[in-house]
């Protein structure tokens, strides 16, 4: 039987929005733990990508306000 596989990938900035500082190790550790728990059958990556910045926007949790910024796609 052919099993249909769906690929899911996502991008993460390696610096924080607020001050452009790198994340501390605990953040990457917790992400890795969460990915392994969510996808016990396995995953690939991470892969470091350098791409042009593009304008984007998101709703900030704390204020519920729309924030516009530049992201790496």
């Amino acid at each position: 039987m052919n099993e249909r596989l769906v690929e899911c990938s996502f991008l993460l900035p390696i610096v924080r929005d607020s001050d452009r500082a790198s994340h501390p190790p605990i953040v990457w550790r917790l992400l890795q733990d969460a990915i392994r728990a969510a996808f016990p059958q396995g995953h690939s990556g991470p892969e470091l990508l350098y791409v042009e910045t593009v304008p984007g926007e998101y709703v900030e949790d704390a204020t519920k306000k729309l924030v516009r910024d530049e992201s790496r796609r």
Partner: protein, 168 residues
């Protein structure tokens, strides 16, 4: 050191991990990971590689080998400027893991709000100095101020390599 004595591996937060507790399956894996790590691979390539190797060997997430690999990955990231040196969150998370086994148990026994602790660890919130002191008290730890240089030395690539040299 005695001839066959297994050394202690110290994480970037100075947590002591007894390498003698590595399982028979974990030991050759760690030796292979160490060999790759010594070539100072690019941070994310190393991260992708060890996770695949780990999965292939069906090792246990949360075991000693898993924790050592995460630490090696962090050291490479710090050395390559992609990851910040550990901050108080890293120390806190390791202390909780060491003394309580899980964040759930720690929060249950100390009355700490698990949601707030999660936000703190995800860098979406901070602890006040008073709140941090209370947590540290429960963990039998204290706040100290250290120079950047000594923190960086704790996260050096060489320190981990020396500790893992005897694992085979």
């Amino acid at each position: 050191m005695k001839k066959h004595e297994m050394p202690i591996y110290r994480t970037i937060t100075r947590r002591r991990l007894a390498l003698s507790k590595l399982t028979r399956e974990e030991r050759p894996f760690i030796a292979r990971v160490h060999a790759r790590y010594q070539k100072a691979p690019e941070w994310s390539k190393f991260a992708a590689w060890w996770v695949q190797e780990f999965a292939k060997r069906r090792l246990k997430t949360g075991g000693l080998a898993y924790r050592i690999c995460q630490d090696l990955e962090a050291r490479l990231g710090i050395a390559q400027g992609k990851v910040a040196p550990p901050d108080y969150r890293d120390y806190l998370a390791d202390l909780i893991e060491e003394k309580y086994g899980s964040r759930y148990k720690f929060c249950k026994e100390t009355g700490v709000d698990p949601g707030h602790l999660s936000r703190v660890f995800a860098s979406r919130s901070d602890l006040s100095l008073d709140a941090l002191k209370k947590l540290l008290q429960a963990l039998g730890a204290a706040l100290v101020v250290q120079e950047d240089d000594s923190l960086r030395a704790n996260a050096s690539l060489e320190e981990a390599s020396r500790a893992l040299a005897g694992v085979a």
